[in-house]
Symmetry: C2
DNA sequence: ATGAACGCATAGGCTGTGCCTATGCCTCTG
DNA sequence: CAGAGGCATAGGCACAGCCTATGCGTTCAT
């Protein structure tokens, strides 16, 4: 399902937000480093694509119409997530010799780090961050070898020589498409879940290991083989949504889909699927400088969330 | 602050997700209605912009690298919000004579309706929805005049002749930039809040009225004039983030900013800033067809959220 | 072993979008 | 009444992106 082309031009929506903020097309143009006529035409074609008037142009500026306010309101989250994406990408490029080297598991890197990096930039704007992603063992190695200043891992199997602090919670969830038989009762037994082939990552994935580990904790010893093995979380989600079969993913990965009901969560009786996410660093070598800032930010995020429950 | 151009090309990221899902560049190209060479080049330039390899190209397909999985993971929420945006835009265009006419307050239309519309499309794909946004009085008029099948309003001042059901909660929050003096203590008295000039919407805005109403409930009678009046939520947020002064906004509008700490919430002692959001329809004329579906979806969202607390 | 099928890369050529500068018109203000 | 600020229009240029055609490498079946 390709994205509707109507919304693919982020720069135009960004321009619209700038007009809302600055009160005139010309000022918005300047803020974006383009000429006023260019901005004017961009907004005009944006309006044409949207199909309704978004701006009220007066001789002393431009204001959003009601429809314009709505569109701006919907566009803002898109741009906010795009900023997250950009922050993540920046941390991936290693060409700047970053002062702060972070190693993180995929779950942390995907769902939590971008927001932390943006907060970090607010605290120390000049810190270039280099991110390496891998499984927990890999991250631990990087930190122990001092090739990373700070690591973030799932808590299972903490190696020696590392100090740590819990910074967030993760939870595995079993999800199915709304049409799936399990979607109605919303609960299955551990044995049933283990005996059913799932859409999953390749074997060796941390999520898959954690899933089997949790079920073993409930006394399960036999597991059905995977129904389908796919290379990415997105692909697994797409397969599950398409009704191929149940899947097990991090709660962070399916939050939005649960909200919009494109996926339905199914509880697994008597199995604890929670796990803590931890920051780690070489014991005795307390993080300093930007690493300390990032640790503070990450820790604050867990207390912040606790506030809101 | 304009969006970094690195992430402005949504179509390329969408293509990347399709590759992750379908396992080959050619199939992704076909899914997007373009030729294989075009897709190949798009992905190549995307990799150049990102600065790291995202795909592992083999002779029988393409897989994401670790970095590619990360980028895909960050891009997915951007695209998901873009789909929301598109759903909203679709509902704004009135050229199709929609079978379902919805009138909603700005808060509901901005933050809740897109997800509902997407869920509605899953239930009845052929329903074209037309959305009108306005303040609560305006919405009530539309519904009473039967120019809208269903309305969504803040609950203050329910007019006669309308039946209703609570579908969501809203809450006003006082926010300041992290550097503001109030950010440290995180709490002010009602009198102090009322006596301080705020960045706000034009007078007559529902948010502003609700704020003053809530403070009057706490015995406050005198209000400072606004520090700055702006035309949109985005503009107000930008001003607050920029440190111009405190602002009062819906919790939904600042959720992301609170999470990333670009804004800090300040409690107001002894003032109840909650309000219910209600669906309304002409009493006696129980919603049927798509209107009933939408009502069910909206109602489900409130119980769903309750589940998760 | 060998050809067919599949998949990605490269080459060449074209179209159209988007941007810039210059200019005109309108309105509010002093 | 003149000037400033702001948006729209016009004309012209550059480049980005797409398509078709083709080539090369790998895999699989006969």
């Amino acid at each position: 399902m390709p994205l509707p082309s109507r919304v693919s031009d982020l720069a135009s929506f960004d321009l619209l937000l700038s007009v809302a903020e600055l009160g005139s097309i010309g000022r918005a143009a300047k803020a974006h480093g383009m000429s006023q006529p260019s901005a004017s035409e961009r907004l005009r074609t944006l309006e044409a694509r949207v199909g309704v008037a978004l701006l009220e142009r007066t001789s002393r500026g431009a204001r959003l119409t009601t429809a314009g306010q709505l569109v701006a309101g919907w566009a803002a989250p898109v741009l906010a997530r795009a900023v997250d994406l950009d922050a993540g990408i920046t941390s991936l490029r290693a060409d700047r010799h970053g002062q702060l080297r972070v190693a993180a598991s995929l779950t942390v890197a995907e769902y939590l780090l971008p927001a932390w990096l943006i907060a970090l930039r607010a605290v120390s704007p000049d810190t270039a961050t280099v991110l390496t992603a891998g499984n927990s063992v890999h991250v631990a190695e990087q930190v122990l070898a001092e090739r990373a200043d700070l690591g973030f891992i799932e808590s299972t199997g903490m190696p020696q020589g590392l100090a740590s602090r819990v910074v967030a919670k993760d939870e595995l969830v079993l999800v199915v498409a709304p049409g799936h038989p399990w979607a109605r009762r919303r609960r299955v037994t551990a044995a049933k879940a283990a005996g059913t082939p799932l859409v999953s990552r390749e074997s060796g994935s941390g999520t898959r290991q954690a899933w089997e580990h949790a079920l073993r904790g409930a006394g399960i010893t036999e597991f059905a083989g995977p129904l389908l093995e796919m290379s990415s979380t997105t692909a697994i989600k797409a397969a599950a949504i398409g009704g191929i079969g149940p899947a097990v993913l991090s709660i962070h990965a399916v939050e939005a889909d649960l909200k919009t009901r494109t996926l339905v969560r199914v509880e697994v009786s008597d199995v604890d699927l929670h796990r803590a996410l931890r920051a780690v660093w070489p014991s005795g070598r307390t993080p300093r400088g930007p690493a300390s800032d990032l640790l503070t930010i990450a820790t604050r995020s867990v207390t912040h969330r606790a506030d809101r429950r």
